[in-house]
């Protein structure tokens, strides 16, 4: 099952780079959805020996939530905001990609400082998780549209969740569910706020949101 985990982790990294490099917002949301699904399947491949129902339920919940429900929410927000055209990031694409590469390196650097926990599926999980977190932050920092900032937050959550997989056994189910619920509620409220901003400001570009300053 080692190579399946490697494949899924590579898929996660690719999804990140795709979001960083691509224009249309719809495509980005779909990429994040795929990333969610990949993460949903990851626990199955990481701990093949455990066939407990608890693991299946969590995986199913993750796939359902991250793959379909949250992207659905974001698509609805896009439809109301009637913005299809691509998003103009604050920095050019190649610089975005370049920074993305640097952050992957940074993630691996920090992971190198930390001793490898013995019973994790593969040594790749921690660096991938850290770099996904950093990429999520990068997306938030470099995007002009507040919707893509929400998207960046989602990538951040995915990164943290990949890290959570290492201790799938350790973390009791209730907490897992609580985390999922909170993330979902977070995205839901962000979606409603984005709608209000759209109605109030007539656009969801971050350039409008600067009149609270010293």
């Amino acid at each position: 099952m080692e190579h399946v985990t490697q494949l899924l982790l590579i898929l996660v990294i690719l999804a990140n780079l795709f979001v960083l490099g691509s224009h249309p917002l719809g495509a980005c949301i779909r990429a994040v959805a795929f990333q969610g699904i990949a993460l949903g399947l990851l626990p199955l491949s990481l701990h093949p020996e455990e066939r407990s129902i608890h693991l299946f339920v969590i995986a199913l919940g993750m796939v359902g939530l991250k793959g379909f429900v949250i992207p659905g929410l974001l698509f609805r927000a896009i439809r109301d905001a009637a913005i299809r055209k691509e998003q103009e990031p604050l920095i050019g694409f190649n610089t975005g990609l370049f920074l993305g590469a640097i952050l992957v390196g940074l993630g691996f650097g920090i992971a190198g400082k930390l001793p490898l926990p013995p019973h994790t599926g593969s040594s790749m999980v921690v660096p991938v998780a850290l770099s996904t977190v950093m990429m999520g932050l990068l997306v938030i920092v470099t995007r002009a549209k507040i919707l893509s900032q929400a998207l960046g937050y989602l990538i951040l959550e995915n990164g943290i969740y990949t890290f959570g997989l290492i201790l799938a056994a350790g973390l009791p189910g209730l907490i897992e569910m609580g985390v999922l619920l909170d993330i979902f509620a977070g995205i839901f409220i962000m979606g409603t706020v984005i709608e209000h901003i759209h109605r109030e400001f007539g656009s969801i570009s971050a350039h409008k949101l600067v009149n609270l300053r010293e």
């Binding site: 920090i110 400082k113 932050l137 920092v141 900032q149 971050a206 949101l209 300053r213 010293e214």
Partner: protein, 656 residues
């Protein structure tokens, strides 16, 4: 000590009962005045006993605050300050009862009376607190009550600015005191002054404690670089409050300094020198700036700075005496200091009450618009005359006694080998001469000559509630001036409590100090006797002759107008021009133009040199520098997240 508790209770009741709903305005003023006067009277008893040498038992109440302990005790030093405090408070409150009457219609005076009582209680607590935490609490409550009293006429922009400056200055000073008492408490293991006194562990941290104590207490006492709030706050406060502040609140700084420095068994010599240097430059700068003022209360505020300079010079001389193990110099210095504290408390509050009575009568504080008030307000005039003579240190009054002590301390110091020690006496003489210039100018401009404005000519004498306190204070000045010999032993005891002097050599020094002072008493008596003899002689001579009235000699020019007189600014123009570099004197005038000039205008003011040339530019520049940082909060949420991200990565690389 129960008397002290009783007096504080009565003063507190005086402040609180004012809020009773049913009370009419007159009844409220009456209850407040009577209760506070009674409280002050009762408070005098323990102070007098402590000064007379009885050791009073201290009150000890457990207080569940970390490190705190309610411990009140009165030794000779606190007794002296308390005595001054209660006398000046009684005078100020009695004066206030009639001074505040015109304000009665437009606003309710409940808050002022409450804060006045709070102010008096807080100062009494400062003088009797034997525990550092209680001292700090009382200290800041005094500052708070003072702030609300200064901001009494808060609707004027100038008063608000002064109140703000006062509040910031006292708070910064208190922060220094936090560290002083924090370090003392931690090293001595407990916050009680008794445990701290002479504790061996204090020696290691003596220099930082000394510097911070100078900053903390100096800002309250008004040493020159830290004095900037004083000339702003005193004119802004109502007159009875400025009398109380200048007479007593400034002395809490001196008391605190003596108390903290007294904790050290062996003070190094450079302490005395620094104190002396600060005293001298405060004295000279204070009186030079006073000379250039035309607002009477600002003038008196600067003169307070000068007198604090003299007091600090005395402390410096006393501490030099202690470190040179010469009990005579130590006693002369410290006894002179404490005596000048009491004397200044008496005549400065009398002068402020006089200024208040003049303000009450003419409605203006500008000395250039008064004149000829002596004929219209003779009693106020007499009190202010006597107080002015006392503050200049002229013989028959008490100012001369304390300056004489400080002088003899300075002379004895001058006889030692070190070169720099001879400077004390001549500097004090320069300050004395400048004081004569200032106060003859102030008294002359206000009370003598012809009334310069119709308001001055329409002035009426104030009622008995204003005159009685002034009269009592100046009477006390004359009394002390005539019989100094009897007060000296009490002062000696207070000085012994202030500095680490062994009991034995203090009594010796008191022994030979006493007769000298009685000589001076004799001297003043001889002078008064001779003056009356000459007066009677002249009456005899003139009995037969005709005594005519005519106009002043105007070199033949008969139509002399009142405006031709020398005003306070013109009188001070020549001496101030010699100190041009020290005085930031601003003159706005348009000179008469052409052959037939229609009009001319001249207005001179002397804003505070340190405040305008040093502090304000400094504050502006630091504000400008700080506001460059404010651009960091520019509203772009992405960059906010970038700050977080960079900070986290930095932490990871630094600490991981």
């Amino acid at each position: 000590m129960t008397f002290l508790g009783l007096s504080l209770l009565m003063v507190f009741l005086g402040g609180v009962l004012v809020f009773l709903p049913g009370l009419s305005r007159r009844a409220a003023s009456l209850t407040h005045t009577v209760l506070v006067l009674a409280g002050c009277g009762v408070g005098l008893v323990p102070a007098w006993q402590a000064l007379a040498g009885q050791t009073l038992s201290s009150v000890l109440v457990s207080w569940s605050v970390p490190g705190g302990q309610i411990e009140l005790g009165i030794d000779a030093l606190s007794g002296l300050f308390l005595l001054l405090h209660f006398v000046v408070s009684a005078a100020a409150v009695l004066f206030g009862s009639s001074y505040f009457e015109p304000y009665e219609e437009e606003r309710s005076l409940k808050s002022v009376r409450f804060f006045l009582s709070g102010f008096i209680i807080a100062i009494a607590l400062v003088f009797t607190a034997q525990n550092a935490v209680l001292f700090l609490v009382a200290w800041e409550m005094m500052a708070l009550a003072g702030f609300f009293l200064v901001a009494f006429e808060g609707h004027e922009r100038q008063v608000r600015r002064a109140a703000l400056l006062y509040f910031v200055a006292t708070h910064l000073g208190t922060l220094c005191l936090f560290v002083v008492f924090g370090v003392l408490g931690m090293r001595a293991g407990s916050f009680a002054f008794a445990q701290m006194a002479g504790h061996p562990a204090l020696l290691a941290a003596s220099t930082p404690i000394f510097v911070l104590a100078l900053l903390g207490f100096g800002s309250k006492a008004g040493f020159v670089p830290l004095h900037i709030w004083l000339p702003e706050a005193h004119p802004a406060a109502p007159s009875p409050v400025s009398a109380l502040m200048s007479g007593v609140m400034i002395k809490t700084g001196i008391y605190g300094l003596l108390r903290v420095l007294g904790l050290f068994a062996q003070p190094p010599a450079w302490w005395g020198l620094t104190l002396g240097a600060i005293g001298m430059c405060s004295g000279i700068l204070g009186i030079v700036w006073a000379l250039a003022q035309s607002d009477v209360k600002r003038f008196l505020a600067y003169s307070s700075i000068e007198n604090v300079g003299i007091i600090t010079l005395g402390i410096g001389i006393g501490y030099l005496g202690v470190s040179f193990h010469n009990p005579l110099i130590a006693l002369f210095g410290l006894a002179g200091t404490l005596w000048h504290v009491v004397n200044h408390g008496l005549f400065k509050s009398a002068l402020f009450l006089g200024a208040g009575s003049v303000l009450h009568a003419t409605g203006s504080r500008d000395m250039n618009q008064q004149g000829g008030l002596f004929t219209r307000m003779p009693l106020t005039g007499c009190c202010v005359l006597m107080a002015s003579m006392a503050i200049c240190g002229l013989p028959p009054f008490n100012g001369f006694i304390s300056e004489w002590l400080i002088y003899s301390g300075a002379f004895h110091l001058g006889q030692r080998q070190e070169l720099y020690l001879f400077v004390g006496a001549p500097v004090l003489a320069l300050i004395g001469a400048l004081a004569v210039a200032c106060f003859s100018n102030a008294f002359g401009a206000q009370f003598l000559g012809v009334a310069r404005t119709e308001r001055a000519s329409a002035a009426k004498e104030s009622d008995w509630r204003m005159l009685l306190p002034m009269g009592a204070l100046t009477g006390a000045c004359l009394m002390i001036g005539l019989v100094p010999g009897r007060c000296f032993p009490a002062l000696g005891r207070a000085a012994a409590a202030a500095a680490p002097l062994s009991q034995m050599d203090v009594l010796g020094a008191i022994g030979d100090g006493g007769p000298l002072l009685s000589n001076i008493g004799l001297l003043s008596g001889a002078f008064l006797f001779l003056a009356t003899f000459l007066f009677l002689m002249r009456q005899g001579i003139l009995a037969g002759k005709d005594v005519a009235q005519s106009s002043t000699w105007g070199c033949g020019y008969s139509l002399v107008s009142a405006r031709a007189q020398y005003t306070a600014s013109s009188f001070a123009q020549f001496p101030v021009s010699l100190f041009r570099s020290l005085v930031d004197r601003r003159v706005e005038s348009d000179r008469p133009k052409g052959y037939f000039p229609t009009g001319a205008r001249f207005r001179s003011s002397a804003p505070d040199l340190i405040l305008n040339r040093v502090v304000s530019p400094l504050v502006e520049r630091s504000l400008a520098w700080m506001s460059t940082f404010r651009r960091l909060q520019h509203g772009k949420v992405q960059l906010y997240l970038l700050y977080m991200f960079v900070f986290m990565v930095a932490l990871l690389f630094w600490k991981l």
